[in-house]
Amino acid sequence: METRAYPGKFVLNDELVEAINRTLLTLLEKTDARCVLLAGADGYPIAVQGLTCNMDIRSFSALAAGAFSSTKELAKLAGEQGFCSQFHQGDKHHLYMSSVGDKAILVVVFDNRTTIGMVRMFTLRTASQLEEVLEKTPGPSEEALGEPQLENLSESLRAKIDKIFDEK
């Protein structure tokens, strides 16, 4: 039987998204943070929980991934493989970021209702749980693909882009 896959593609299915959201929610509750976000290493927001009021999540994810990658390069220059976490301290709001393997970044936005110690402890624990969850991401199968047709997607997208830019 033919085995079909998109090698190397990162796939999220309902089960995984649910597991990720559950894990993020637990972290949010335990740390009393404002919000928690899981972003792909390429800057794509995967899941978010908590109060994100008016926060531009897509830009936030891209910048977090950029900052994290940048720090990784700094680590290399300092003779380290990478830094697994980083902390940014503000007046009222603070950021704690932790790598989730090499696939994603876990970001916690918190304020003075909680402490950096609590946030660090639970975030590192959650990051390793999420790493296990993401390890389970399946290679896309024909079955997983379901209805959406990748055939002719290129042509359909071209027509859509034409429409978007001509509509203006």
Binding site: R4, G8, K9, V11, G43, Y44, A62, E73, L153
Partner: protein
């Protein structure tokens, strides 16, 4: 390790990362600015430019675009530029993390041919750090600044930059919006063509 295109079947989303690459001052940010300006507001997010100094990009420019639903999948794009100056090689490498398609924006000025070649070599090296190559990545060439009196002939630039790979190339005057959209459409097409079942 590389982190590739996200296909989110739970949300029926396909996310593609496109990076505009090329030597300094070749027009990468201009391409992004033109696309951002021409696209309807509801399809694009805020354009973020990081730490620009004069006309130079020091980290990256970025904006997200939501194309909408195509064949049952919501297509989302992330458009990035890299800083062109040779000094920022580490930054360019990190922006390439997870890239699906590259628009190589070459400067048509005859005096910039060496810079174009160096930037292409730099792209090759940086892709290699993610286990990718110029042959396995969706790449489209854009010969920008065709309005310059000192512009090199297209045939010459083809021989210099495109002799072995036969990438699609477009002439452009990005600052006037010319050639920006065809380049953008082509790179998306190239990315999606690589999304084929492999047996």
């Amino acid at each position: 390790m590389d982190f590739k295109m996200v296909i989110d079947f739970a949300r029926r989303e396909l996310v593609c990362k496109i990076v505009y690459y090329g030597p300094t001052m070749s027009g990468k940010t201009t391409n992004l600015t033109v696309l951002h300006r021409k696209a309807p507001k509801e399809t694009v997010g805020r354009m973020t430019s990081l730490a620009t100094y004069g006309d130079r990009t020091l980290f990256f420019d970025f904006f997200p675009m939501d194309v909408g639903v195509v064949n049952g999948l919501r297509i989302k794009l992330q458009l990035y530029t890299v800083p062109g100056q040779p000094f920022y090689v580490a930054t360019r490498r990190l922006v390439l993390n997870g890239v699906d398609g590259v628009v190589f924006v070459a400067d048509s000025d005859m005096r910039r041919m060496k810079d174009n070649l160096e930037s292409l070599r730099d792209l090759q090296e940086n892709l290699a750090s993610y286990g990718k190559s110029l042959d396995t990545t969706a790449i489209v060439l854009q010969y920008n600044k065709r309005d310059l009196p000192s512009a090199a002939p297209v045939e010459y630039m083809d021989r210099l930059l495109n002799v072995t790979r036969n990438w699609c190339s477009f002439e452009s005057v990005a600052v006037a919006g010319v050639g920006v959209l065809p380049t953008f459409k082509k790179v998306l097409e190239e990315v999606l063509q690589r999304l084929k079942w492999q047996t």
